[in-house]
Structures are given as C-alpha cells and as structure tokens.
Symmetry: D2
Subunit: 401 residues, 4 copies
C-alpha cells in the first residue's frame, strides 16, 4: 500500500515540484493550504494541487484562529524579536503544523511534509511543532533533501509539467500573514545596501504618504483590541483593516540583521503596519494601567516568550505557563488609545482607562496636590542607605568612580 | 561661625529664592552651576548668584565629562526607561552631585543643597549620590522643606528682591541636557490630551520638517561614536550637532506615562534627537557585530542598569559592575552606520564593520552557499527532543493546546 | 465617640502594653490573635487581652488557610530569600493583615495596629498589606511611635498592671509559624559568633540526633504534598508532622546575614525542618517532570516572587500573575519522593512520577539505547557556529582567552 | 604524507583503542594527557600511549592553570548547574581543548580527537571549544563514529593488543578533576534507586564520618581563597586539601536528575567536598560584603554563566563579559569564614571582613541603635503607594485575593 503524506502546499514552485516528487517516490499526496491573512486565492491553490496530482486538496481559512490563538498572545506580550520586529512567520508555523497534524490524523497519513530548505528557522518550527503534536508522524522536508540548484529544480519542473511562475525572476523570498510580511534574499543580502522600493509591498514609501494625518481611536477590552473609532471588529478583520490604514501612512517598515536559530545572521526586512500600530497602542495602555512591579518584570516574560516562539517551541509547556502570566495581567488592560497615523509614525496622543493608575491629584504640581511630600525624606534615607554604608566602608572605591 | 552650604544653582526662581532663604537662615551660600549641554549663559548665572547674595559663584562647563562618563555608558547600554526614553535628567544628577561634593570639600562646606520638590525623582538622585560620595555632608532641600504655594514663593521673592522670570506663566517644568529635554506639568498632566506645539523646543513638528531626507554616516570605535560623515568630533560636540541636525527632521519626540520611583505615575514628554539617532545606530552595529548569546543577554543588563540610573543609584557598586560587562563587549562594536534622517525617523539603511559576524556566504540562498544544510536534521532532532518527550508523556496536555 | 482600633495581639509584653497605651489614648481596643502554627495557647491569649482592657478578643485558628494560601505557593516556587531561607515571617504577615482588615470591617473600626518597631521588615509588610486591602483604614504602630527604651516600657507596664513575662531576660527576638522559626538579637548580632545551643528550639543539635536514619516517602499531587508513607494529611498537619520528624534529625538550621528591605544587613538564624524537607523533595520531583525550558526559567519567577513576598508586596497584582505561572506548571508535578532523614540532611534517594520525563531508553549507555547519536554531529555544528564565526572574525580576541 | 591527529588520551580502554584505530586508518597519532587534579599516574599514561603506537606522548600537569583560570571564576560565580552541583567536567573540557589545540598547532597536526560518545555533553564542549580556538583544525570523534557495542570494542582491543583494564566490569562511568567527581550509568540509571556505597569514592558515608567536628578558617582575598587556618596555599593545593579534609566528613555528595544539552534527562551523582565547602564559605562572605543590589542581581549573571559553561560555550565572548562583571565585584570579597565540618555539613559559624557592610549599630535592637526609625514611616508610605493605588482603582480584584 502506498504511503500517504500531507504536504503543506502554497501553490508556489517549490511545493508544486514537491507534490510531483513525492508521487515519483511512490507517495499518495494530500495537499493542505492555509490562509493566515496573506490574501491567497484559495480556490486557485486548491485546484492547482489537484492538477499536480494530489489525491485531495484541503484549503482552510484560519485567519481568525490565527489572530485569536497565536497573534493575540504575541501582541499582549509585546513580542518583538531582538527588540526589533513582531514575530510574523514564527507565529504562523505552529498553527500550520497543528492543521497539518489534524488533517494527517483524519486521513490516517504516515507523514507530514513542509517545503523549507535546510538553513532557515521555519524547518525547525515545523518539525518541532509536528513532533510535539504527534510524535508518531514522520516529518519530511523534500526541498532540504533533494538539494537541487535552482536550475535543476526548474528542469525537473519543466519535465514534469509543473507551471513555472511568472515572478520566478524575483530575487526575493517573501512570507506573509496578517501580522506582517517578511522579505529576504537578493540585494537584501548586502547589509550595507538600502532596501530598494520594490522590496516593500504592504507599506507606502514615506515620500508617497499623505500629508494629512489620520487620527484613530483603538479600544481594548482585557488587552484585546475590539473596536476602532467605536466600531467593533473581529480580531482578524481589525488587524487587516489596520494593515491597510497604517500601511497607507508608511507605518511598520523594519530592517533587521537578525540571529537565526541555526547559528547564522541574516538580513531581512519586515512590514507590519497593523502590528506596529497595535503594539504601540497596547503598550501605552499598559503603561497607564499596570503597576510598576509588573511593568518592570514583564519584559523578562516577553523576552523568554519571544525566544520560545522564534525558536520553534510554541508547544513547549513553558509557552503555556508564560501565557498564564500574561493572561492574568490583561484583566486590567481596558481603555482607549488615540493614535495619530502620519509619515510612518503611529503616535499615541492620548490614552484613558477605567483602570488607569495615573492619579492627577497625586501627580500634579498644582495646588490640588495630595501627595505627601514629607514622606520622601524618610524614603530617600532608607533607599540610599545600602549605597551610603557601602561608601563609608569602601571609601577609596567610591572616590575613584 | 556661619554654616556654609553649596547650592546647586540654575539661575531660575526656585534656586534664587533658595539662596535668599538660606541667607535668612544664617547660612553662607556658595552657588554652583553646571553646563551639561542645555545651552546656559554661564556668565549671567554666575553674576545672578552673586547678586542674590552668594559669597562665591562657581560655573563649570561639564559637557564633555558628562558625555564621556555618564551619557556614553547609557548609549552603549541602550538605556531606555521603561523601553521608552533615554534617561536624560537621571544621567546629569550624579554628575552634578559629584561636582557639588567636590566644591563642598574644597570650600569646607557643611552642607550641600538642591532645589527639588518632594515628589520627583531628582531629590532621590541628588541625595543618594551626595551621601554616597561624602556621607558627612548634610543635604538640604529648601524647596521641599518650605512647602510654599507658588503664590507664597512669589511674594517672598518680591519682598527679598529676587527677580521674577518673564516666563513665570509657563505652565511647564523643563529640564534639559545634551542627551535630551524633558517637559511635564500644565496640560501635559492630562494623559488624554495631545501635547501642544509649544511643549516642544528641540524638535520640529513633523508637519514642518524638510521634504528632503538627509543621509549621514556615523562611525563608531569600540562603541563610541567618533565621526559623522568622516569628520571627527569630541563626543559632546557630536551629540549637540546631532541634536541640531536630527531635531530639524523632527526626530526623537517621546510621550510617556512613567512610573516614578516615589510611587506615582506621571506623564512627561521628551525630545532626544541626538540620543535617538545614536541609540538606533549603535544597536544596529551591535546587531551586526555581537554574537546571539550577547545580543539576547544584554537586555537584562540594560534593564538593571537603566533602573539603577533612574532610581538614583549611579554610585551603587552594581552600576560599576554592569559597566564592566558593557565595556567588555564594546571592543567589537566598530564600524559605520548609514542613517537616513527624514520625517521624524532615523532610518538605518546600511551598516558595515571589520567585526561583522554577518557572513554572506553562510546566509546566502545563492549558489555561493557554504552553509551545511544537512547539519540541520540532527540539530532539529535534539533541539525538539525535550518538547517531544514531554508531549509523549503528557499527551492530553499537548492536545488541549 | 471613641475611636476603635483592631490590634494584632500576641499575648506578649509589647502588644499587651500597646493595648493599655491605646486605652490611655482614648481608643476602644479589639484584640485579634491568629494561630499560624506556632503552637499558641489561644484561650490564654484571648483571656489576657480582655484582662488588659480590650473590649473584644478574637482568636483565629488560621493554620490551614495559611498553609494552603500562603505557604503552598512559596513551596511550589522554591522561595528562598537570597537563596538561603524559606520566607517564614514574610508569609504570615499578609494573612494576619487580611484577618485584621476583616475584623476591622466587621467591627467598623477606624484603625488597625501592629506591634512592630521601626527597623524591621514586618512593619512594611503589615502596612502595605493593610493599605492594599483597605486604603481607608488607618494603620497604627504604637511600639514604633512611642520609641521607649526597654526600661521605660517595663516601667509603664508595671505602672499599668501589665504582667511582665518570665522570659523577659531572653536576649532573643523570635517569630514562628508552621513554615519555620526565626531568631535574632543578643549574641546573634555578632556575625563572627556561632549561635549558641539555646538559640534553637525546633531542631536537635547534630550531636544529639539519632544514629539511625529515617526514610519517608512523600507523595505529591499537582505540586501539593498530600501524603507521607501512604497516609494522607491536610497540608498544615503534614507540615507540622514534618517539623517534628525532621526536627528530631536536626534538619533545617540556617544562619544568614541578610539584606533587609529597610536598607540594613541583619544576622538571623532560622529553623525550618518541614520546609527544608518539602522544598528539597519538591525540587527533585520538578527536576524529574519539568522540561529544561521550564527548569531554567523558573528561577527567574522564583526570585521575583521571593522578593515581592519578602518586601511586603504579597497583594501586588504581580504576585498574582507570578502565581498563575507557577500554577500552570504544577499540573505536571505528580509523584513520590523517597527521603532519608539523617544527621541534619534530607537526602532524596529516589523519585518516581507518572509524568517523569526521564527516559531510561534515551539515557542509558547499555544496548537498549534508543538515542540517535548521529544527530549530535549536526547539532554541535550549528550550536557552535556563532562562537566559531566570532572567533574567525575576531581572531586575536579568541586567542588571548 | 600521513595525516596527523592529536588525541586526548586518558590511558583508558576507549582512548587506547582509538589510538590503534587511528593508526589503522593511516593516521600518525600524538597522544596528549592532562592532569586536572584527578590524581593520574602521568608517567604510566605517557608510556602506555607510546606502547599503543603514538609517535609522541604529551603529559601536562594543568592543575594550577585549571584552578586559576577555570575553577576560580566558577567558584566566584557560585556556579551550580540547575542550582544543584558545581560544574565539574564542564570546567575541564575547555582547558583540555585549549591544550589540545596548542599541541596541534605546535606539531602542525591536521586534526584533534576526543574519546566521547554521541549522547553526552562533553562532545559538544570539546568540539565547540576547539572550533572556537582554531576553526581550521578538524575535530574527530572516533568512539562516536565507530558505534561499536562494548563487545565489539573489546574484541577489537584484544585483536590489536590493547590491554583490557581490570575494572572493565565496573558499571559506572566516572570523570574527575579537582573540583569534583561525577558518576553515572549502572544502577544509577534508575532514578528511584538509592546510589550504592561503591558509587562514591571521594567522600565518606555519613555513617562512617568522625563524631567530632573539625573547625577551619578560610581566608579570602578579592574572592580568592588563599589560606586555611592561617596557612597560605596555592589554589589547586588548597582545593585538593579541602577535598581530603571535607571528604572525610562526608561533605559534598549530590544526586541529580539533570537536563543534558542534547535534549535528554540523565541521573548522575557527584562528590565535591572541596567545592561545596568553598562555595558555601564564599557565598557567606559575599552576603556580608556586597550590597543588596548586587546580591539580588548576581544570580542572573550566575545562571547565564553556568548555562554557558555547561553548554560548551566557555569561549563565547559572553563568558568573558560575564567574568568582567564578576571580577569587578570580587574586589570587596575579603575576609575570613569559620566553617565547621561535621556529618556531611560545611556549616558557616562565623564570618568577618574589613569590607563588612554589616553594621551592628544600625542592626542592633539594643540602646546602641543608630538607625533612624522615624524614616520608616515615609519609606513605607511611598513603597506601598503603587499597590495601594492599584487596589483603590481595581477594588474588586484586590478583594478576591
């Protein structure tokens, strides 16, 4: 009996060739394509898989599940890899893995396959996620295994009747979902070179952005963005709307030389207009509503969670425990943030909340002041005491500073 | 014999009144004014102190010492309080304290005085620093002690012949040095209100910035910015130059609801054109030259150092130990960063370094690839093993994710 | 109308004098005494308060609530202040505060009072906790306020008919609950002096411990110790039983020079036989059942939670968020730990669990080995790649190491 | 021309067979054996290597270099893997790697070889270290490559005339250096089984320890233990002496289920009498001499450094930066610690230091008290303010606690 493989199918050259190649190797192929917000023509992809010889072709609109289960925790965590960019691809991989495993279990398949090469992060994310969800499934990586040059792959494609995409000449390697778009390769491999215009797609050039700002109000409930300018949206729609609105103002371009999990540095550019706008607004609301203790400890949780996600460990039990921490504090993150979108900036101009810890009567320098200034004297005395005693004891050291 | 006090003197109303008040209390007052890059007229301040009745009036140009000893470590640490703004005032306080103590020791004074109220951070920074440097000096805080209303203070000033400043109506409370300018009070006390135009001084409104970008190259040696467009500058001059150039493009405006050390939240705005430009460029160079281990651990050091500085503990021995860590890694931070200044953005377009760890032949997806893709198979197997074993053992938990 | 105060009453000299003193000041006093496992004679304390003049005298057996709500999180966190001792007093203070507030609200009292002096941690813990639970209650600290010398206090006591305790000559200051016993003062204030025999009470001198070990099995369910040698106990009883059994073997003596919150170092000794035994056993079970990710991150949570508890911030919302993290991971901590109690040691000799991640077939060096050793080659290549590239680029630096 | 390999040679079966095997493969073998404190007969090992066919045989007494350059930083860091055991083997691997590279460069060898299998940590430590020191050297792992069963290896050995050790039946796998002894395999692979007596070698059974304690005084200068009972020793001798003295009292037995770098858990036992005694004493001295800031931040540095060392990254530049931090604070760690060695315990009974921050006049509860208790009132007010405001705003949440 033929072995069955569920292939993560995008409709592009690599995965189309892979379908053919699996069939050549004697596999029965089930294609599986997800929409995680990149605006795919699912009907086209579904048909193409069948044309390539897949016995079945699944297409799944996973946008809202992606937004709720994967993007939202990253938003609430303020997850920015290397303090630089929202996790984009790293967030969709565990979801895709989960769906592949579900299809594989339903179809009683023997294996699951992805189209990654051997030098990126995504191979790790897919394989670790799939093994975590079902250790009995074999994981195959045909593109990594066949190690063809581009020319060899095209030759094989032609021979097997795989259509060659018209954008084959594009020097870039792009991945996109509703949390953003990543781009690498080509001229971008030179970290001294400025990214050319055509490397970007979701965001306007600063030079082309409107000369009038646009001011929006984003409303959060328990850390979830639920409305814009008073109108409710489901999360995936809200993010896609912001991608469009903020993208028009050139918001969310990021250019990063990053440390990959596999030990090398790579230079990539990102466009995350919705993500950057929401991350900025959410942080402002937290600054207003969370006590200092939390504000100063949360970055530790953020960094660990960000690393886990980036490094393919979404299904580690630590991810879940860190999310419990985050969920607990989101109960306070209610309110409205007013954001001015202008010339590449998402500028928070105002924030208000029923949970606001900002107390004007404590903060003010006017006569409404309720702060007990005399308390400061004792506070300072004890606050500085260890340093003072240290200096007394180690005088010479203190002086040399 | 009269008691001698060295007063941190700014030339403003509070400290001028304080000089008079000290004299009333029977003190001999020595005024001491520092220029840390706020562009003060030192001659005027010197004279004014003497007119107020000070027996001596010190004025000290501390710009380069401030840049080298206090600003540079903060730049290299990427110190941003609450991941939001460079430390501005928190950096100048320990330097001013140090100078006050030096003058007090030289003049054999009994006490040192500052003009802070009882609800800000600066009182803590001054008092802890002074006590650390010389625990035998008394520290006085006349403005905190007399607890006058604005009206009472003005009445006293008039009575004693202290000139009332023409900007007395200004609702704002400003502090400035070469690393930036902070502003609070007035309408800014309402966190829902947008800061009005007149709250800013160092930076142009986005609407008024040039429509042509300006591209500069910043050169770093061991983490120190040493040249712009090939021309060498001493550090304080380089920062002041960038304040002017980047300020023109509207770079470095920050609006923050922050947690003060004394237990309250306050809303402040900052303008840090030079700081933001340098911090951005320096981080890019580190991203290129430091290994991932360092890149991912450094934020821990950064956060602790930032808190120590903000919280008045510059002279804690921990500050020194954290700086030893940072100094060790700056040896690799050499190279040039190309920055495009435009519409409020300092956009790094290119970076290069003799210590660059970016290796195009490892990163490339072209045929020049030297990366051993087959190594990934073993890597992924072991990397995911703990999560896989966990899932096998705790199956139900894995599934529920 | 008289003001009402609820006084935390222990039956000792300080709080008995305080009752009298409050009455002198015109207060109506309601005494409130908790048993948190120190083995108090509650009837005696209740009566004594009334004799002192209290209008009401509450006595509350809070042992099980203390064990479940305060001790258990500290056990599961492995909370050891400065990596040295379980938190003992710091854990009972928030509970006592909570009870005082409950009584105060029920009795419509105006104030709550504690018997702490002005230089310890407990005043902070009481006052911050009470303010967090009910900011409208006044908090009074008569002992801190009256600042009497020992002699003055005794004179006042005699005058007012407060019985002088027979152990008044004891040089020590002791606090005890079911999680341990702390002792300071007297000869212990000399950190070079060995603590004398009479400083200890719960634990046998090593010289006097049995020459035969005692082996017990402790069973945990979701991180909660539920049975010893197969017999179920409620948590407070289980801890008290272990205090007795492990105390007999001299387990849990700790001698520590610690950093108090109020800025000074103090030297204290602790006896925590049950706590040390349970903490040791619980950690062993976690080592067996938790993935490395969690094992290596949990200490960060532990340290922060420990500091919060020590520093009086039990009711900070961060405490709650950290507990959510801990609760999430405790689901895996099931199993049995075999402990040998002998000569001051709680030695874990064996551990087993249905959630054990130890896999003998992966770990073994026998022919049953299922570990894929060939995977190591690729793993090591990528694991070491950043360091290797760093060395190639920065050769001179690598050599000098 | 023959290829040259420098083989890390121990004199045991594996590495002896490896020498023969390399010769069979056409290599010229240079043996290299280090003494890092395990008490090896270097002359015997040297001769044996030559008998096996090595063309040269290096033996190097590296004890003092090991103590100074590798053990001392681990002592000062309080490096305990998973808060459980000193790093033992992880510390010697980078030193051995360094010596192998030095010999290889001197002998112009093509490759360096170690005798590790494919499932331990040591293969990683050797290979990453060697690649960091000289990326041009090939690293060979014959034992991992040949993947023989024990029987096959013995057959090969007999055939090639490699002497079979008399302790071949030992079920254990042991590694030792002056910082301790590790043992795994055999019955130890069952985590429920108590380690049998014969698994230990450096430490007496508790049952067999002297009934009289032994009290020693250890003197530290800048964090370095320099003398015992007033007599100076060089560091390696001091540690070896303590191994003997503390081992006699049964100190330093550790039984641990640990997370290996290669993704599995293993159960190992350790004996570290000298290490445990010194680590205990050094921490006590730090508790006396370092400010709270440092004491509470150092564990973060410790944990990262410990992980780096365990994970084979000694030559990462992060290791060096963390050591700069540690070196900076060791300047204060001077003084003497009195330790009672008794029944498996190293009990610190007293500590004193010229840098002591313990101030009896601040700490005392006697009339010598110099602490300003009134300062506590203001301190507590501001310390608790954020929690208080949080409770006021979020009342319901506070109550539910």
């Amino acid at each position: 009996m033929k072995k069955k493989v569920v292939m993560a199918y995008s409709g592009g050259l690599d995965t189309s060739v892979a379908v053919k190649w699996f069939i050549d190797q004697g596999y029965e192929v089930i294609a599986c394509c997800l929409d995680v917000g990149e605006g795919k023509d699912l009907d086209f992809v579904k048909e193409k898989a069948l044309k390539m010889g897949a016995v079945k072709s699944y297409v799944i609109d996973a946008k809202e599940e992606f937004a709720q289960e994967f993007v939202l925790p990253a938003l609430q965590a303020h997850a920015m890899y290397e303090n630089k960019y929202p996790l984009v691809s790293a967030l969709s991989r565990p979801l895709i893995s989960k769906k592949l495993v579900e299809v594989a279990e339903q179809e009683k398949a023997d294996a699951v396959a992805h189209g990654c090469t051997g030098k990126g992060n995504d191979q790790v994310r897919f394989e670790v996620s799939i093994k975590a969800l079902n250790p009995d499934l074999e994981v195959l990586a045909p593109v990594r295994d066949w190690s063809w040059s581009r020319e060899e792959e095209i030759e094989y494609a032609k021979e097997k009747g795989v259509p060659i995409p018209i954008d084959l000449d594009s020097p870039y390697s792009v991945d996109q979902n509703l949390w953003g778009r990543s781009n690498e390769c080509g001229i971008l491999e030179d970290p001294w070179a400025a990214p050319p215009k055509d490397a970007y797609d979701l965001t306007a050039e600063l030079e082309d952005t409107p000369d009038e700002p646009e001011v929006i109000e984003i409303e959060f409930e328990k850390g979830v963005p639920v409305a814009i300018d008073g109108k409710k949206y489901k999360l995936s729609d809200l993010i896609l709307l912001l991608n469009s609105v903020a993208g028009k103002h050139g918001i969310g371009r990021i250019d990063h030389v990053e440390n990959r999990l596999v030990g090398i540095k790579s230079r990539e550019i990102y466009e995350c207009p919705g993500a950057v706008t929401l991350l900025t607004a959410h942080k402002e609301l937290e600054d207003l509503t969370l006590v200092k203790d939390i504000g100063h400890f949360k970055p530790v949780v953020t960094q660990k969670l960000t690393e886990l996600i980036y490094e393919g460990l979404w299904f580690s039990p630590l991810t879940s425990a860190l999310q419990s921490f985050l969920k607990d504090i989101q109960q306070y993150v209610n309110g409205t943030v007013r954001v001015k979108l202008f010339k590449g900036h998402a500028i928070v101009e105002g924030r208000k909340s029923p949970n606001s810890l900002y107390n004007e009567r404590l903060a003010t320098y006017t006569s409404d002041d309720e702060f007990d200034q005399s308390a400061s004297v004792g506070f300072i005395k004890l606050w500085g005491l260890p340093t003072e005693v240290h200096s007394q004891v180690n005088k010479k050291d203190a002086v040399k500073q």
